[in-house]
């Protein structure tokens, strides 16, 4: 033992070397300093210079060592030998693995639909989608469809960016912050740092959430709303603000389509569309002339109230339509109070508080700036109220409209892109028009004509075959969910199993535990993955999967491509997909092998490049069939998406002077490493606010390569593309919804934000299943990854169902009890505990704690398996049959977002004791079991 009699001022050597890279214990992507001693990782801390985390590090980040040395790490490519699910594998070489993959994939080049390639929460979607485009399959998406596409789509369609990773509150200036439906979010550390700033200043936080833990626990005011009713609550706030004229009129006139003239002739084909001039410019009534004018013409000041008659067709400004709609009594606080579970006086008081802070505590910055119409402003005027929201409002079947309602509220208060309000992070703002349209397959054997995912502006952009069936296996961009901008990964396995819209041959998954926590109805999905047809073959013939660890999904794949851990590979956190920008800077980052793998594993992207070369995919090989990129690091440096624009924006051009644009620089990665693994490029001071309309910002963005020409735009209070879908539903145009969906499209795709009851609240079962059931992410666990982590799992290795006090007493529960929890889809047995800081109609548990025996190198009787459970068994990807026998998908009808939080349940006492049910038989662990003891650090003594 070392001498432990400490000197008064001990000053031990911390490490031999510090290497800077990017954390990937979650998708927040903080900068980390990895301390190495004797070539081993000794200590990980936050990088103080890093724009994301400024030195702090969350529990997961610090536990990175344990993940890096996890006994559940895969060691070599695996080929299945036993039946699917058995966990029986044989280790093979990479060459054999590629041969096998090519044997399955090569034939599909002629029939590329038969490959479905879906990726989880990886951060290389611009690369993986490019691979899928090269292969030619239309069946590519990442996980956004089951995650938060409602949030993304509502934000982009309404204001050119969303909460999530697209923007952030002005933490330094905001005085009133309202947070809806967030337990943790992707911006894990930044939100905590931001809340810390507000707390230090004594600014006020209002948490809207059925559950009062975490961020909501420290909120000064807690609004324990009933799930699925936020849209009502928000529109009641809108009702109050409109009624009192407490809206930012100047802002609405300048920066939104509040003055656009809308066709109000119900009989007209163009009902709901804007009046446009010959140049297709939407028209407003100019207050000076009283005549129609293009909205963006210099000097035009739109009226918000003046009606207009164009050749007998009545037109009204958007704002007038809003006044008419939102002043209706159904949106009044009194009308919504009971359903939301919030007293009407409380709603009125919150509206008053929002108005007071926004308009009476206005802040000004003396920074002159010039707008897109050339008008110079001496000051920046701020409305210091800000909002943030996440899956609590988006993971409902009314989530798209609820998210829109929240954006509407922000915009009415004039608090988007102003000091003290909500600010976009580059490359946002970016309106829907600036995004691509979705692309389907061109011709077998050819690459896809464009990216898979995009933002439809009307029915003409849907991906439907002439016979009306879906072009994509997940049925994204069909009339069932027209704006499914992130695809619908949660439908892939069930659709592929059902052969609807068609059968596939190979399912290729990356970094998504689809046999467990990311699937709805997990037990059924396991059946689908193992189901065999009459020919004795699996219904889904081939499954290739890349994971870094022995997850549940591994056992269900036929071929495993083992990834490295995040400390052992190159990665690129790129402006082309999900960068690490801040509101006042563009930024991107890399990961690089700070330690070399000690196993026969490869970074997945490199494996994908090698596979692409083997398949001779366009873009991966030159005319001679030679590899264009050696590996992913080579791709990161040398690939160009548009001339001068590549995966990494920093230190471009051979001399490293290029910021955003420039030729590839062979030394680029060294520059990143020297700089701590990231690049930051600040936005000039006068361009940091009003970005959609700020000429300075638009120029900067073009110079930095975010886009190729300035693209100013106004916010869409009235969302015309939705009016176009409604027009089709009313029977106009070439593409129209099938009969059974017409009414639904009309009801749910309203051009002004609306609220309708979540689908599971409408069915017959409502009375039988009186409670809402939710999950929350624990701050210290990332989905299923955390359980293999020796330190994190000590904090949470079993989960309880939290039951509100009233229900607890009514059912006669006492400490240590178990309960049956049932939904229309099934029944599980779970341990229960009491909670009072909880909406009285809601039960909940921590997400993804339950594990399947055989996975994660855990013992077969670990608490995760005895007392951990998933709610997923109770959630179906399809709703119970409707009157007409049809089963709608359990998704938002606009975007296809999985409606995880619509779940309704009932609860009854169960016999004492576990284990949690369903209980699964252990599979064989392909990596063995973890060690009996651990004393990390003894090697450094």
């Amino acid at each position: 033992m070392p001498d432990t009699k400490l000197p008064a001022r001990p000053s031990p050597e911390v490490s031999d070397e510090v290497r800077h890279t990017t954390c990937y214990m979650c998708a927040c992507r903080c900068g980390i300093n990895v301390h190495l001693k004797n070539g081993r990782v000794k200590y990980i801390e936050g990088n103080r210079d890093h724009p994301v985390n400024r030195g702090v590090l969350c529990a997961k980040g610090s536990a990175g060592i344990m993940q890096h040395y996890s006994p559940a790490r895969l060691r070599k490519p695996l080929k299945r030998t036993g039946p699917r699910g058995s966990g029986e594998f044989q280790e093979i070489s990479w060459d054999e693995a590629y041969d096998l993959a090519a044997e399955w994939l090569e034939p599909l080049r002629k029939d590329p639909e038969k490959l479905a390639f879906f990726t989880g929460r990886d951060q290389s979607q611009s690369f993986t989608s490019w691979w899928a485009q090269a292969f030619g399959t239309p069946n590519y998406a990442a996980h956004g469809g089951f995650c938060s596409v409602n949030m993304a789509a509502a934000g982009i369609y309404t204001m050119g960016g969303a909460f999530w990773e697209f923007g952030q509150p002005d933490w330094d200036r905001t005085k009133l912050f309202m947070i809806f439906g967030v337990a943790e979010d992707h911006d894990s550390n930044p939100i905590k740092m931001g809340l810390g700033k507000l707390k230090a200043r004594g600014a006020k936080v209002i948490g809207v959430n059925p559950i009062r833990t975490g961020y909501n626990a420290i909120a000064d005011e807690w609004v324990g709303i009933t799930p699925g009713t936020d849209g009502l609550f928000i529109l009641a706030l809108v009702h109050e603000l409109m009624r009192a004229g407490q809206v930012d009129l100047d802002y609405l006139c300048r920066y939104t389509n509040a003055g656009f003239l809308v066709n109000c002739d119900e009989g007209s084909e163009d009902y709901g569309l804007f009046l446009r001039d010959e140049d297709d410019k939407p028209q407003v009534i100019d207050r000076a002339t009283g005549a129609p004018a293009a909205y963006d013409a210099k000097g035009v000041k739109p009226s918000l109230t003046a009606d207009h008659d164009a050749d007998g067709t009545p037109y009204r400004p958007v704002f007038a339509l809003m006044a008419e709609l939102y002043l209706e009594d159904r949106w009044s606080p009194d009308a919504v109070a009971e359903r939301c579970g919030i007293p009407a006086e409380r709603i009125r008081a919150i509206a008053a508080e929002l108005a007071r802070v926004a308009f009476e505590e206005e802040i000004t910055l003396d920074i002159p700036w010039t707008d897109w119409k050339g008008e110079r402003h001496e000051q920046m005027i701020g409305r210091p109220v800000s909002f943030h929201a996440m899956r609590g409002i988006s993971a409902h079947s009314n989530g798209f409209q609820t998210c829109r309602a929240l954006h509407l509220l922000q915009i009415l208060l004039g608090s988007v892109e102003v000091p003290g309000g909500f600010r976009f992070k580059p490359p946002y703002p970016k309106p829907p028009e600036a995004h691509p349209r979705p692309h389907g397959m061109a011709k077998p054997g050819l690459p896809m004509p464009g990216p898979h995912l995009g933002y439809p502006l009307g029915p003409e952009h849907l991906l439907i075959k002439p016979d009306g069936s879906a072009k994509r296996i997940d049925k994204a961009y069909t009339w069932e969910n027209p704006l499914s901008a992130h695809g619908m990964m949660h439908m892939v396995i069930s659709n592929a199993h059902a052969g609807d819209p068609y059968k596939i041959d190979t399912l290729f998954l990356y970094m998504a535990n689809m046999a467990w926590n990311s699937s709805m109805n997990t037990s059924r999905v396991i059946d689908m993955l193992t189901d065999k047809g009459e020919d004795g073959d699996y219904v889904i013939p081939h499954i290739i999967y890349s994971d870094a660890y022995s997850s549940e999904m591994v056992a269900y794949a036929d071929l495993i491509l083992p990834d490295t851990t995040y400390l052992e590979r190159h990665d690129c956190i790129s402006l082309l997909d999900r960068p690490i920008c801040e509101a006042d800077a563009a930024a991107d980052a890399i990961r690089w092998p700070v330690v070399e793998p000690d196993r026969d594993v490869k970074g997945f992207q490199t494996a994908l490049i090698e596979l692409g070369v083997k398949l001779r995919l366009p873009g991966f090989v030159d005319e001679d069939g030679q590899a264009i990129y050696r590996d992913y690091a080579d791709y990161m440096v040398n690939h160009e998406r548009r001339p001068g624009v590549g995966p990494l924006a920093g230190w471009r051009d051979p001399d490293g002077s290029g910021q955003g644009r420039g030729k590839p620089n062979p030394e680029q990665l060294d520059r990143y490493i020297e700089n701590g693994g990231f690049w930051v490029h600040h936005i000039p001071e006068d361009a940091q606010f009003y970005k959609p309309w700020n000429a300075g910002y638009q120029d900067w963005a073009v110079k930095t390569g975010l886009f190729d020409a300035p693209q100013p735009y106004v916010f869409n209070l009235w969302l015309e593309p939705l009016a176009k879908f409604q027009r089709a539903a009313r029977g106009h145009g070439a593409s129209q919804p099938p009969e059974h969906l017409r009414e639904r499209v009309l009801r749910t795709m309203t051009p002004l934000p609306t609220w309708y009851a979540p689908f599971e609240d409408e069915g017959e079962g409502v009375d039988e299943y009186p409670l809402h059931a939710l999950t929350q992410r624990p701050m210290h666990m990332y989905h299923s990854w955390g359980s293999q982590n020796a330190w994190l799992r000590q904090i949470t290795n079993a989960n309880k169902l939290y039951v509100p006090g009233e229900v607890w007493e009514r059912e006669g529960f006492s400490e240590g009890d178990w309960a049956w929890l049932s939904s229309p889809h099934g029944r599980i047995r779970v341990p229960v505990a009491r909670m009072d800081a909880l909406n009285p109609h809601t039960v909940w548990t921590w997400n993804a704690i339950g594990k399947k025996p055989g996975a994660w190198a855990l013992s077969d009787n670990a608490p995760e398996m005895r007392e951990g459970f998933l709610l997923n068994h109770l959630i179906n990807e399809l709703l119970p049959p409707k009157g007409d026998g049809r089963r709608w998908s359990n998704s938002d009808p606009v975007t296809g977002q999985a409606a995880w939080f619509d779940l309704r349940v009932k609860i009854e006492r169960a016999p004492e004791g576990g284990p949690a049910e369903p209980h699964f038989e252990p599979a064989k662990s392909p990596v063995g079991k973890g060690p009996e003891r651990l004393a990390y650090g003894e090697k450094f003594k």
Binding site: Q794, I795, T796, N797, A798, M835, P863
Partner: protein, 290 residues
């Protein structure tokens, strides 16, 4: 507190051992030669055995000798020093009695006193702890001394004295229980003071900091069911005090009686010690919901 066998054995046996040695030091019974050897052997065996058991409780016994260094401040250190000094002082007295047929009465008397000091020190290890209000109580040393002296008398064959002292010890034990049951409330530590949140409202543990166990819970998280405790109290009192006392008083002269009474007493004393630990609540538990 976790009723660890090592501490139960330690306190019970060393108490008996020093109790017996105390009686022997006073020349009761007045034995010499082989007879004395066996008495002293039993006394030393119990005292040393008890101390050895306490060593089993240590996580890092190789540093054991250092435990004698802090006698100025630490009751545990004092207990160690006292035990060793006592055993060393009694040794020549015992040698005198066994081999030299001599009775250095003054030395024996000092030894006897030191035995009581040692037992007192043992008791103070527990009694000093404010964190365990049930122990942190003037009756704790009285209790230890009473059981030690009574058990010692029983072993020393001082039947009448033993009978009376056992009844007395039983009485102290009952008083200790009654007092002890009030102590936690008296001490004033609640989940409200532990968290500082008491002024806000009624505080309840929602989630512990770790889902499995840890050292603290293993060591201090023990709690015993009320019903179980009552049963054990009856056993402790009956077997520890009443039954052996009755036997002693009814059969004052018979060594056979002692041979019957002592094992019964031992059962009782173990039950009492088990309860001593098991019923004692540490204030730390408040952080785990009480």
């Amino acid at each position: 507190m976790h009723p660890a066998p090592s501490v139960i054995v330690f306190t019970a046996l060393s108490g008996l051992g020093f109790g017996l040695l105390a009686w022997l030091g006073l020349g009761l019974p007045a034995v010499y030669g082989w007879a004395a050897f066996w008495w002293y052997f039993v006394g030393y065996a119990l005292a040393v055995g008890g101390l050895m058991a306490s060593v089993l409780h240590l996580g890092n016994p190789k540093n054991g000798l250092k435990a004698f260094s802090q006698w100025r401040t630490s009751w545990l250190s004092r207990e160690g020093v006292a035990a060793v000094v006592t055993l060393l002082i009694i040794a020549p007295f015992a040698i005198g009695r066994i081999f030299l047929d001599t009775d250095w009465g003054w030395l024996g008397a000092i030894g006897s006193l030191l035995c009581l000091v040692t037992v007192f020190c043992t008791s103070m290890i527990y009694a000093q702890l404010r964190t365990v209000p049930r122990w942190n109580n003037a009756l704790t040393p009285v209790l230890f001394l009473a059981w030690s002296v009574a058990g010692g008398a029983l072993l020393a064959g001082q039947a009448v004295a033993a009978g009376l002292l056992l009844l007395l010890a039983g009485g102290v034990q009952v008083a200790y229980w009654l007092r002890g049951d009030q102590r936690f409330a008296e001490a004033g530590s609640t989940i409200g003071t532990a968290t500082g949140l008491g002024a806000l409202g009624r505080v309840r543990l929602f989630e512990p900091p770790h889902q499995g166990t840890n050292y603290l819970l293993k060591e201090m998280g023990f709690s015993v069911a009320r019903k179980h405790a009552v049963k054990l109290r009856v056993i402790a009192l009956a077997a520890g005090s009443l039954m052996p006392a009755v036997i002693c008083i009814l059969m004052p002269a018979g060594y056979v009686a002692i041979l019957i009474a002592f094992p019964i007493h031992l059962v009782g004393i173990f039950a009492a010690r088990w309860l001593f630990f098991a019923e004692a609540d540490h204030v730390m538990k408040l952080y785990y919901g009480g």
